[in-house]
Symmetry: C2
Subunit: 462 residues, 2 copies
C-alpha cells in the first residue's frame, strides 16, 4: 500500500508489520558492507523515515549503495516499530527503486550551510530542515488567517495589485508600464504621454489594500484583504522586502476598542493554530533557532493584552528608572528601545493607542482632544510592532480637512470620500505584515528567509 | 442584545419576541402616515431584514420618515415571527438612530441599473443584490480552494509577483521599474541601462507561478500557489482581465492520471462547498442570472468526468453528424464549437488529454509516441475549458531539447533545469483561472463583474 511519511508517523501502530510503499528524497545515506540506512523525506512530514536495506533482501544491493544524497527513490518494505531506538520505527526494505539520481555535486550534502549560501540556491533550500519547517509553517499561518476570518463570516476581498493611485504616500512606488522605454511617447510639452500606456494613465504596484477594503466594509460589514503589497524603498535591512504579503481586516460599525478586540483574538488564534498543527516544526525552531520561542508564544496566547494611550506610554517611559538614547516625547513616535521597555514592563503584548495626529496617516479618526487620532500599534515581547491600525475618519468634513492639510489629492480619492457621503459608519481596521508575523512565529531573524523567493534591492532571482 | 441579520435568519425561533439591536444600511424605505417599513441589509446576509416602526412607538417619527436609501442606521426592537407574510419575521422597532445619512443623489435607488453603470460606481456596487451575492460567493470559493488543499496537507507557496524571467512566453508582460522615465539611464550603446533599475535588471509582473511551484513540489510533494497573475494583452473581451487570480497545484511522484483525479476531486469539492454555504446567493443566481445554474452545477458534482485523448476527440468530431465552421484536425487545437459538442455529447465534464506537442508549452512531458505531450484540458458543460494542466517533462535531456526547439533561454531557467538534475521525479500540475471558475459558478457573463476592481486595457480605476 502506497502511503506517506506523515501517515506513518501519525498512525505508526496501525502500520506495524505492514508492507508499504514510500516515495521521497534521500536526506542521508550510510552504506555498510552488507546493509545500509537511508533517511527519506517525502515532503509530507518534518521528520525523516529510516529505511534499512540488506544485501540478502534486495536484488540490486551494489547499485543501491551508490545512490546519492538528494536522489528520489521508491521504497517498498515492512514497517517495524523500534521502541528502543532513536526513531520510533523503521522500514525493512524489500525493494528499492531509484527514480531520479543526484550526482555528487548536489549542493545540500549533510553539513551546515550558511543562510546566505542557501538564499543563492533558493530552488533547493526548501529541502533542508530549516526551510522545510519555515515554509510548512508559512502555509499553515496563511490558512490560520483565512480560517479565523472565515469562521467569523468575514468576506475576503481581492484588492487590486495594479493601481493608478499614489495617494497613500506610504513610500516609493514601483511603476507598471507597457510603454517601449527605448521609444517613449511624449506629449507636446515633452513629458511622457501616459495616455498611450496600457491603462491610459500612469500606474503603480499597490502599497496597501486598505482603502479598497473600506469600500467592501461599507457593504459587508466585516471584510479582509490578504495579498501581496510592494515598497520600492532601497532598504537593505533584515526586516524589509520589496514584495511582501499583508493582511488587512476592515470592520464597519466598530470603534478602536472593537478593533483591538479583533486583533487580540486573531493573534491568539493564529499562534495556537500553528502550534497545534506543526508541533515538530515549532519544537525544531524552539531548539535550534530561538531558545524559549514556545514559551514566548504561549505567553502571548495566555495573557490579556494591555491597552495604554501613547501619552500614558510616554509618561511611563519618562518616569522609568532607565536612561534612553532617544528621549521619550509626547509629540513623537516610539523608538525601538521604548517599545522594548514597554513590553518588558508589562510582560505581555501591549496596544499603544491615541497617537499624536501629525505622525499618523490622513485617514485616521481625530479624537475629541483634537490632538490625537484613534490609532493603535500592537507591541509584542521579542519583536516590537506587529500590527498597526486605526479607527477611520468617517466624518466627511474632517476627512477633507485632513486631506488638504496633508496634500492628499481629493480628485483621485473621490470614491473614498463618497463612502462618507452615503451611509457612512464608524469603522476600523488594521494591517499585519505576514512575513513579520512569520518571523515572530519561527524565530527566524532575516525576512529573506521566510518568503520563497525574496525580492529586495538588486535581487530578483528565480 | 446586538446581533446580525445572519444570526436572526439562522436562529429565528430563538429570537422570537426578543429585543435586539441591528446595525446596517437601508436598502428600501416606505413611509406611511403613521407607520413605516425599512429594509435593512447589514452585510452579513444576503436577505434584508424588515423593520416596522410606528408613530406611537418611536420618539422621532418625523425625522425617521426622511431617512434616505443607503443610509446607515441602528435599530432596536422586538423580533416577531410572521409565518403568514412574505418574510419569515420582522422587527417591531422601539428606537431607530440614524448613523450616517444618504442624500437623494445616492446612485443606488431601488430600480434596475445596468452592469456597465454599476462598473463605473464599483465603490458602491457591492451594496446591490447581484454584487453582494457575487462577492460573498467569491470569498467562499477562495476559501473552498484553500480548504481543499489544506485538508490534504498541501503546502501553500507564495510564488513571486515580480519576476526577472520572461521565459514562459505566455503573452505580453507588464514591465516593473523605478527608473525615471523622463531621464532614463543609458548604456554606451544607447539602450536602457537596467543595471541602474531597482532590481539591477529588467523585471516584469508574473504570468504564472507554476515554475516556482515545481521547486516546492520537489521538496514538499504536494503544493499549490494561489495569487494574482498578469497579462498585458490588449484583449477587450468578456473573459479577459489584465490582472486576475490563478490557482496552480503541483504534485510530485504523480502522472497525468493522478493529476486528473486531483482536478476532478477539487472541482466537485469547491462547487459543493459553495452551494452548501451560500444557498441564498446560489438560488438568486439560479433565478435571476442563469436559469438552470444549480442543476448544471449538480451535474458536475454527480457525474464521473470523461477522459479521452485529443485524437479520440477529433475522431468523434469528424464522425459527428454535424457541420462545424472550423474543421476538426488531428494537429490542431479545439475550437469553442468543438468543446461544446464534446461536453454535450457526454453530458458531463470531459478531460481531453495527450495533445499535439507543437501547440503546447515547452515544459509538458513528451509521450512515447514522440508526437503528443501529457497535457490535459478540462471542458465543462456551459463554459468550455476550465482547467489546463500537464505532466511536466522530468527528463533533463528531453526538456533541454524542447527548450532549444522553442527558443526558451536555458541560462535564465538554470534553476528549473537543476530540478531535473537533483532527485527528479515524475510530476504534474494544472492551473485554474479563479475568475473564470467564479463566472461558471455564478452564471455572470462578464469577467469584469466577478472581481472587485477590474483592470483591463484603459481601465485602472479605484
Amino acid at each position: 500500500m502506497k502511503t506517506t511519511v506523515r501517515e506513518l508517523y501519525k498512525r505508526m501502530i496501525d502500520f506495524d508489520q505492514k508492507e508499504v510503499i514510500i516515495e521521497g528524497w534521500l536526506r542521508n545515506h550510510r552504506a555498510q558492507k552488507s546493509f545500509g540506512f537511508m533517511n527519506i523525506n517525502d515532503g509530507t512530514f518534518f521528520e525523516t523515515l529510516q529505511v534499512v536495506y540488506e544485501e540478502t533482501k534486495v536484488n540490486n544491493y551494489k547499485a543501491l549503495q551508490k545512490i546519492g544524497i538528494g536522489a528520489s527513490v521508491r521504497v517498498q518494505g515492512r514497517v517495524e516499530l523500534t521502541p528502543n531506538m532513536k526513531q520510533p520505527f523503521e522500514i525493512k526494505a524489500t525493494a528499492i527503486e531509484l527514480v531520479g539520481d543526484s550526482p555528487e555535486d548536489y549542493p545540500l550534502q549533510p553539513k551546515r550551510h550558511s543562510r546566505e549560501f542557501l538564499r543563492e540556491i533558493a530552488h533547493l533550500r526548501p529541502r533542508t530542515n530549516l526551510f522545510s519547517a519555515v515554509f510548512r509553517v508559512r502555509s499553515l499561518l496563511n490558512h490560520a488567517f483565512h480560517s479565523f476570518f472565515q469562521e467569523r463570516d468575514f468576506v475576503h476581498v481581492a484588492s487590486p495589485i495594479i493601481t493608478a493611485s499614489d495617494a497613500e504616500g506610504a513610500g516609493e512606488l514601483f511603476k507598471v508600464t507597457t510603454l517601449d522605454l527605448n521609444d517613449l511617447p511624449k506629449t507636446d510639452d515633452k513629458t511622457i504621454d501616459y495616455k498611450k500606456d496600457f491603462f491610459g494613465k500612469a500606474s503603480y504596484l499597490t502599497v496597501s489594500g486598505q482603502l479598497q477594503a473600506e469600500v467592501f466594509a461599507q457593504a459587508f460589514k466585516n471584510v479582509y484583504t490578504f495579498g501581496p503589497t510592494f515598497r520600492a524603498e532601497k532598504s537593505n535591512t533584515t526586516t524589509h522586502l520589496s514584495e511582501f504579503w499583508m493582511l488587512e481586516p476592515e470592520i464597519a460599525f466598530a470603534d478602536l476598542e472593537v478593533n483591538m478586540d479583533l486583533a487580540e483574538a486573531m493573534t491568539k488564534y493564529v499562534i495556537a493554530y500553528v502550534i497545534d498543527r506543526a508541533p515538530e516544526e515549532m519544537q525544531f525552531f524552539d531548539r535550534f533557532v530561538e531558545k524559549g520561542l514556545l514559551s514566548k508564544l504561549q505567553n502571548v496566547v495566555d495573557k490579556k493584552f494591555q491597552r495604554i494611550t501613547h501619552k500614558e506610554a510616554i509618561t511611563l517611559l519618562k518616569e522609568a528608572n532607565q536612561v534612553f538614547e532617544n528621549e521619550p516625547k509626547y509629540d513623537s513616535d516610539l523608538a525601538t528601545e521604548h517599545e522594548k521597555f514597554l513590553v518588558k514592563h508589562f510582560n505581555s503584548p501591549v496596544f499603544v493607542k491615541d497617537w499624536p495626529k501629525h505622525i499618523k496617516a490622513f485617514y485616521m479618526r481625530l479624537n475629541d482632544d483634537q490632538e490625537t487620532v484613534a490609532a493603535m500599534d500592537l507591541l509584542v515581547p521579542g519583536a516590537g510592532e506587529l500590527i498597526g491600525g486605526s479607527q477611520r475618519e468617517e466624518r466627511i468634513d474632517l476627512l477633507r480637512k485632513r486631506m488638504q492639510e496633508m496634500h492628499v489629492d481629493e480628485d483621485e480619492l473621490w470614491w473614498y470620500l463618497e463612502l462618507r457621503k452615503y451611509g457612512s459608519t464608524p469603522h476600523s481596521g488594521y494591517g499585519i505584515g505576514f512575513e513579520r508575523m512569520l518571523m515572530y512565529l519561527t524565530g527566524v531573524e532575516n525576512i529573506r528567509d521566510v518568503i520563497p523567493f525574496p525580492r529586495t534591492p538588486k535581487h530578483c532571482d528565480f
